[in-house]
Amino acid sequence: MFKRALVITEKPSSARRLASALDENGKPNRGRHGKVSFYISYRDGMELVVVSAVGHLYTIVQKKGGWTYPIYDIKWVPSHKADKRSSYTKQYLKTIIDLSNDIDEYVSACDYDQEGSLIAFNIIKHGLGEAALGKSKRMLFNTLTKHELVKSWENRQTLDYPVIAAGKVRHEADWLYGINLSRALTITAKKRINTKKTLSVGRVQGPTLRFVYDLESRINSFVPIPYWKVSAETIIDEITYPLEYEKPRLEREVHAKTVAEECRGKDGVITAIEGKEAKIQPPAPFNLGDLQQEAYRVFNYNPSVTLKIAEKLYLSALISYPRTSSQRISPTIDVREILVKLGENIRYERDVTTLAAKKRVKPRQGKKDDPAHPAIHPTGNKPGLLKPEELNVYDLVVRRFLASLGKPLIRSKSTVDIGVNGHTFYIKGDHTIDPGWTLFYQPYFKSKDTPLPEVIVGMVLPITKLSTRRQYSKPPARFTASSLVRKMEDEGIGTKATRSNIIDTLRRRGYIRGQKVTITGLGSNVIEALAEYSPDIIDVNLTKTLETELDRIESGTGSAEEVIKTTISTLDAVLKRFKEKEVEIGASLTRRT
């Protein structure tokens, strides 16, 4: 009689891949339970029933009370019971429960992060019973390649309770903030005007909207300051070269005109020639934020689109787990093996041959690390037919990985100083000496060589086209979705997995709009009302502190109960103030803009 294990994955596509990888013959039996597929694999004398969730199958609801605030009494229930939109999850939960008879071991094989750990934990605890937790194990993996899945199966561990606790507290704290503040805002606004609109704000949404608001305030209150640029040209061997004046900006028009008058009609004399080499190290492999930013720069993809594509590539075992903060490839990853496999793809064959010939193939390591995951890298598996946007992101990941293995780029930068009647102008040039890593990062890296002419000190040059130009200082640039994700990352709010979704939510709520992100009147009203009556909610420090506490819980040094207690006491103070100032807040929220 076989021992039996129930293996739970996060998504249907990973169940099929995992079952194939773990089955000793690579051919698991596929079964159907209603509309849901499951797989039977055999390994090490065990029968593995591989079944999938479809993201979270459990969610939080209030225990009692109506549509009011404050609400602090909450419980976890099956998602399909809480929200009609989640009715599709019912059949997945039923399948897992129905297949859980006569099981000797339960295995969580969801994504290796807080969400993944919590998804499986909730299913086992609430769906299969507390006793099942005692027989549960965790598989940890960064890629869905056969090799890594088998290794992860062989080394399955006890459930990662600190990670589960951090995930649970994150959900509960976010629910408490989101529901209570959104209800407080909506109820307050509705007392003022008759509207069906629901206002919302969350723990991370608030400070993110505040970034946009603050930038918009700087733009709206910006006063340009004039300055002048002096420029000229010279001709050497019948080629025209632009000249830069020694001071890039002059603050007075009269100064600019004086320079022009003193130099007009005069010749210049070369007084110095300086050259230096600049070494530009290869880029580190991508973390999620870097990938989102680069995909936006190169393909104009919204960060949430890039995340979706990257997740699909991960589920196809083409790249490693994308929701990572790391810019480092750990020494346990066999870079040469990945190169060999990538070399079988004609697209990368030539570059791989060049890199593989090196004695040492070590990726450039970035500063940011992630204890659970390495930087995003290709697995080496050959892609099948990909959609154009999937191929774009895949190629970007591969080329960045290859570039991280390259030599430094070496550029020569030169400056020629030209004296003109007591003033100095420059001709600046630069060119590539060794393209290094940029060879592997084509077509995503572009540089323009501006070579300098053959000149010597003492050479006399004509000064032509001398001119002065008035310019104005510019207001700060608006955020794009990509730079807003970067700002959130720099400020330490949200998670690598949620940042782009939070921006999408702000858009859906009608708080922000446009490719160059601008705040709407409604968004401004929400921020101004909160800034006046509960500034903590939009203060980046509140959410930053919570993130630090969640990290402490995940590392086993923080207390989940304390964090929830603090969340409730913080909220309680805010909500009491809301109740007291409903009239004023309502007026502020519904102000015409």
């Binding site: 305030s217 733009i219 709206n220 209150s221 910006f222 006063v223 340009p224 300051i225 004039p226 300055y227 603050e251 007075r252 028009e253 104005y472 200082s473 510019k474 207001p475 101004e528 102000r591």
Partner: protein, 67 residues
């Protein structure tokens, strides 16, 4: 007291926080413009009001002062 530009509550004087910030920037900018071009306050306002990069709140204040 209400801000004379937008009706929000005026923090200090006649402007709300937002228009107050814009007015403060307008005052801070004047010495730089006077140094650069030797303009009077009114000439300065007229020039700044026509530049595309000037902020919306600043333009509202200029229009109000010059009207």
């Amino acid at each position: 007291m209400s801000c004379k530009m937008c009706g929000r509550e005026a923090e200090k004087g006649v402007y709300c926080t937002q228009h107050g910030l814009a007015y403060a920037n307008l005052e801070d900018g004047y010495p730089k413009w006077r140094y650069a071009l030797g303009l009077s306050w009114v000439e300065y306002l007229e020039r700044v009001g026509k530049i595309s990069g000037t902020g919306r709140w600043v333009k509202e204040i200029i229009a109000n002062i010059l009207s």
